[in-house]
């Protein structure tokens, strides 16, 4: 068994991993940048070591420093979370060389699935259905233009090394192509340190359906069913749910088997996610393997009852998978809403700043995975995810109602967040009807900012503001008028418990 785990991440996912370790009585080491001294993961871990300045390249992406901290603290394993070094095969190879356990796939499989161009080739050979696209890795603008013509517009620009929507652009006509590729390359370079991008056919009105898999070091592979993650802004998911309304048991079984096949032919181990696009005619295409624990992993945990982070740690420790495919069942329905420090009225522009007050949602079937607290200053340097609200209930409709309630009870004051926007998504008739294609937000939510002008509780807010101003004034007056004596002084002679 692993003895001590270093968590090479920050925010809610670092807290999630630390909590799994605490449940398993495995000591933890947090690493942090100078901007994160007061972050929650630093407070939660058993040890915390500062690894550098705020820019990620100087701290959370600094491989030498992180390896040195692991050695110095006696950690024998590293959990990379998601983002940062999670899908960096150089990092996982370095851990292997240094005798540290990387809690994730082996570096060879990581290199294969991480290189989207190479993995497309492998999948084509194995007859896994893929989206038509460009196979070359580095290209001149002329080649991009030719490839786009032969695939046919609209095309999608994607970062070869990436995920999470970074570097991604939809291009509808040849005149947007050059600008889009330049921007995609810059974003890819800054997010992943690798500027290579490729093109593929853009499937219109698709759904994004992915399968969670677990694979141990002995070739045993199970899938834990699907997640539908169609609701996205900037090609980055903000709402996920399971089961998907779009697939039936027959298709579910077929896609699950393909997902396991993808994992097997990639020589992949540990937790991973096989992403598919599902078109209007229920035809599915392999997109990529996300070689990490995903942001949306909790919904799978709630419907299957399996703790994926603990499974990751057990698999990395060399344990055999005890889960059997036929024993894994989906029970009920789970939805996740991601809470970002962003302004939905201003094109989801990130909004750093101080959280002046916060109250967490709670109740039966409500889970809150969180990296913030009242008084926390959200730094500008990192992805603006703050937390996730996950609800579970017997049916989709119950889980949706529970989510609307939880979001309404979730108070974050002082910075802008996606809470109100997500609440409107949950309440939208098209969401209620299960019509969740990846263009859901453009199609249904574009007038959200205007709708907000007709807010329901404007009068009550004014009343509250007026009353609070008045209360403050009268408090001040009261203090000046009489320094009220304590009841202990005015009550006269007293004693406790005497007769």
């Amino acid at each position: 068994m692993i003895k001590k785990i270093l968590i090479a991440n920050r925010g809610e996912i670092a807290v999630r991993v630390i909590n799994a370790c605490r449940e398993m009585s495995v000591p933890t080491v947090a690493v942090y940048s100078t901007a994160d001294r007061k972050s929650l993961h630093v407070q939660m871990a058993d040890e915390a070591i500062c690894i550098g300045d705020p820019p990620p390249l100087e701290s959370y992406l600094n491989i030498d420093k992180i390896i040195a901290v692991a050695k110095q603290t006696g950690a024998d394993a590293i959990h990379p979370g998601y983002g940062f070094l999670a899908e960096n095969s150089d990092f996982s190879a370095r851990c292997e060389r240094e005798g540290l356990v990387f809690i994730g796939p082996n570096s060879k499989a990581l290199r294969l699935v991480g290189d989207k161009v190479a993995s497309r080739e492998t999948m084509t050979k194995a007859k896994i259905p893929i989206i038509p696209g460009m196979m070359t890795k580095r290209a001149e603008m002329k080649e991009f233009k030719e490839a786009a013509e032969s695939i046919g517009y609209p095309v999608m620009i994607k970062a070869s090394a990436g995920g999470g929507g970074k570097g991604m652009r939809i291009i509808y006509s040849p005149k947007e192509l050059e600008k889009g590729i330049e921007a995609g390359m810059r974003e890819a370079k800054s997010a992943f340190g690798d500027e290579s991008v490729y093109l593929e056919k853009y499937i219109e009105e698709p759904r994004h359906v992915e399968f969670q898999v677990l694979a141990d070091n002995f070739g045993n592979v199970v899938h834990l069913f699907e997640r539908e993650c169609s609701i996205q802004r900037r090609h980055q998911k903000i709402v996920e749910e399971t089961p998907s309304c779009a697939i039936d048991d027959e298709l579910r079984k077929k896609m699950g088997e393909v997902a396991k096949k993808v994992i097997k032919i990639s020589g992949y181990n540990n937790a991973g996610t096989v992403e598919f696009l599902l078109d209007k005619n229920k035809k599915f295409y392999f997109l990529e393997v996300n070689a990490r624990i995903q942001v949306e992993h909790p919904i799978t945990e709630l419907v299957t009852g399996v703790d994926l982070v603990k499974q990751q740690i057990k698999i990395a420790s060399g344990e055999k998978l005890k889960l059997k495919q036929e024993e894994i069942k989906q029970r009920g329905h789970a939805i996740e809403c991601r809470i970002y420090a962003e302004d939905p009225e201003n094109n989801f522009f990130p909004c750093a700043g101080k959280i002046l007050f916060m109250k967490e949602p709670a109740g039966p079937g409500v889970r809150h995975d969180c990296g913030i607290y009242s008084g926390f200053d959200v730094p500008v340097y990192y992805d603006p995810i703050l937390s996730k609200v996950i609800t579970w209930a017997e049916t989709r409709e119950d889980a949706r109602g529970r989510m609307i309630m939880a979001l309404s009870d979730y108070i974050i004051l002082g910075i802008k967040t996606t809470i109100g926007f997500l609440s409107s998504v949950m309440g939208h008739p098209e969401f209620a009807a299960g019509n969740t294609q990846t263009n859901f937000i453009e199609k249904n939510m574009s007038d959200w900012g205007d709708k907000k002008k007709g807010r329901k509780f404007l009068n009550e807010a004014l009343l509250a503001a007026a009353v609070s101003s008045q209360m403050k004034t009268s408090e001040k007056r009261a203090v000046v008028k009489e320094k009220a004596p304590s009841p202990w002084l005015t009550v006269g002679k007293w004693s406790i418990g005497g007769n």
Binding site: A352, L407, L413, R455, E460, L463, A464, A466
Partner: protein, 170 residues
């Protein structure tokens, strides 16, 4: 007591009286009887004509941040007549709208040059913040008068990146 509050650039006038343990509040559309009990430092229980509301409220730099039934409001007490104008407002008055990032970030690309004519909604500059690129668009048609930064520079929120001269009215 007379109060003026701004929400989303709209001013609301309010009168408040305190009588028999309750607040009588007159808004533009009528009078309300409010029973208010503080629950904690940041929480009020309001009964407005016997309807129950739990309100979360926090004050910072003269602004009240209020959450009520899942809706959020930023309420500013309006200072009568005088009062400092914001940078953007005074710039607008001068006739030169300034283009600024809503939060600190890095300028990755400037899409226009000085003296360029721009359309309303045209992309002017790409700023990277929190790992995402964001295009800042022109709020109006005009001519780029001055560019205060170069690509690769770091900017603070509200720092004018580009100054625009509005199009001459013909």
């Amino acid at each position: 007591m007379d109060l003026q509050f701004n929400i989303d650039q709209e001013t609301h006038r309010i009168e408040v009286d305190f009588r028999d343990g309750k607040y009588l509040v007159r808004l533009e559309d009528g009078q309300y009887e409010v029973d208010s009990q503080p629950i904690s430092e940041n929480c009020l229980s309001l009964l407005v004509n016997e309807k129950a509301y739990t309100v979360f409220i926090v004050e910072e730099e003269g602004k009240k941040y209020i959450s009520i039934q899942g809706e959020q409001f930023c309420v500013e007490e309006a200072k009568a007549e005088t009062g400092a104008r914001s940078i953007a407002e005074s710039a607008t008055l001068k006739g030169t709208p300034t283009i600024a990032a809503p939060m600190p970030g890095k300028i990755v690309k400037i899409l226009v040059g000085e003296e360029d004519k721009v359309e309303k909604g045209q992309g002017l500059v790409i700023v990277e913040a929190m790992k995402m690129e964001n295009e800042i668009r022109s709020p109006s048609a005009g001519i780029v008068e001055k560019i205060n930064f170069k690509e690769g520079d770091l900017v603070d929120a509200a720092e004018p990146i580009i100054e625009l001269k509005p199009e001459e009215k013909e």
